[in-house]
Symmetry: C2
Subunit: 312 residues, 2 copies
């Protein structure tokens, strides 16, 4: 497939899709694309959506997309696949969202997996968001299914994070909740017609009370996503948070922090790759592995020596 | 608190606990400890336990521990906490397992969080397992709550992986299942008295049929962990897999691979830290961040230049 930046700037959806693929797979030309588009980023409202598995995030996102469309905004969705360490994810990718949204030219939906992985999924997501932003989408959702550290890292690419919770999912979920509660700017209790919605609401309030006092108190909405109920409250919360970010100067602060951590990650990746290539090529690494495996030495001593060699 | 290797080798539980804390927090002396114990590792049977949130992994693990104890084995448990990116996890840590197991001198239970984090949780877990192994525990469980990539990475520290599934947890779970299915050596359908257990069994069989044909066909047990039912079947599956690993030579292969990836990770960590310290101290990094944030340049160009400087 051919790709031209001219098509990209002219608004071709195919060019956007192609650009994301090039970046995702780190194919030739990906750095050139990123360098060219970087100056045109920073315009979109970027919203992360995460929460416990089974909370109904996809349905909720679909409803949010439709709401923003009615407000005249163009919308991008970056849906993170549950990662398969062997086939490289994309389990959900080809299955979701085969609905009316895909026919709307003002909506662009993209699944991100770890196919062709070298860099991390977080970096790829950040790049895909930048591409959608530069291409001209007004609102971009980053949607993750999981609840682990890597998913939290991914959501950090957003300006505002929406946490979707659901009543009654057991003990593990309670614990996970405590972890994700700290990154939430807006909450919604989805499937709020289920037993336990009130208790969950009280629990969230209590956790927020326990946390550090901040200028922004996250609002807690209630939704029944598959009936389209409560969506407006969520959107109001998201927009209020956006306003707060802008007026308080926190938007700049968060984005500056993000530049910093992105650059640090890129430097890590590049250096590690360079070093591993060098020691793998020389055959030194294979020798060391064998000696450590045979317990003739230990990995700590070996790593000291390898790293010492590099920075001598 | 004082720590001596002599106490550690004499079987002091307090010394084991202290050693893990030193390693977890990368306090002074941690590399010396790891260098000394490394030669005494490789004896324990290391079993990973993972699965969807709410599947009842903790209760199942407790039952497995008791079963191995009855077989006369000493047992260690490394329980990974759901990670909180800000407070550093340990939500579950102090809550779980305040039961009869903690009174048994043949059992050692430890929660791992990301407190004092610099290296990753996967590296810390690997080190804690090595300490338990060298200290003399026969069977070591690594138990994770999450389902994301980081949890999968952690479970890769085990020789045998047990996947705990549960009927009827909705769509997200189905997708996650597909991801973790590929790392399972033994499966159990927990809460198997619930509706949907048979269907789940068929689904797992189908996924296994779809996967690459291998010499080992993972057995699927059925348990009701909180009634102690079906535990023996799981243990039989785990032990058969162990036997298979040893006889096929796969145990050596997996452990060699693990040495390789552990060393690669250590090298990455060390080099990245060294480089970041250097460029942070010089103030260069802060300048670059500001210029990128102001979009006077882009991160790709800047990283090219920083990395180029290091390896010129």
């Amino acid at each position: 497939m051919e790709f031209s930046m001219k098509d990209f700037w002219n608004g071709s959806r195919r060019a956007l899709a192609r650009a994301i693929t090039i970046v995702e797979n780190e194919q030739d030309g990906y750095e050139e694309i990123m360098k060219e588009i970087y100056h045109h980023t920073g315009r979109a409202q970027v919203i992360g959506v995460t929460g416990a598995p089974g909370a109904g995030k996809s349905t909720l996102s679909d409803n949010l997309v439709k709401f923003y469309r009615k407000m005249g905004k163009t919308v991008g969705v970056c849906a993170i696949d549950p990662t398969s360490p062997f086939t490289g994810g994309a389990i959900l990718g080809d299955r979701i969202r085969m609905n009316d949204l895909t026919l709307d030219q003002g909506v662009y939906i993209r699944s991100m997996g770890t196919r062709g992985s070298l860099g991390g999924l977080s970096r790829k997501t950040a790049d895909a968001v930048k591409l959608m932003d530069a291409w001209g989408l007004d609102v971009i959702f980053i949607e993750t299914v999981g609840v682990g550290q890597s998913e939290v890292d991914i959501v950090k690419n957003a300006d505002t994070t929406l946490i979707v919770l659901v009543p009654g999912l057991g003990d593990d979920i309670q614990a996970i909740k405590a972890g994700i509660l700290e990154i939430g700017d807006v909450y919604t209790i989805n499937k709020c017609d289920r037993d336990g919605a009130d208790r969950l609401n009280v629990e969230i309030e209590m956790m927020l009370d326990l946390g550090e006092a901040k200028d922004w108190r996250p609002p807690i909405a209630r939704t029944i996503a598959n009936e389209g109920k409560g969506i407006e409250d969520v959107v109001n919360g998201l927009n209020e948070h956006r306003k707060y970010l802008e007026e308080s100067g926190l938007l700049e602060e968060r984005r500056r922090e993000r530049v910093k951590s992105e650059m640090a990650e890129m430097i890590h990746d590049r250096i590690s790759r360079h070093v591993m290539e060098e020691i793998t090529e020389s055959g030194k690494f294979a020798d060391y592995v064998e000696r450590v495996y045979e317990r003739q030495t230990d990995p700590y001593t070996v790593v000291d020596s390898i790293v010492g060699d590099i920075f001598k």
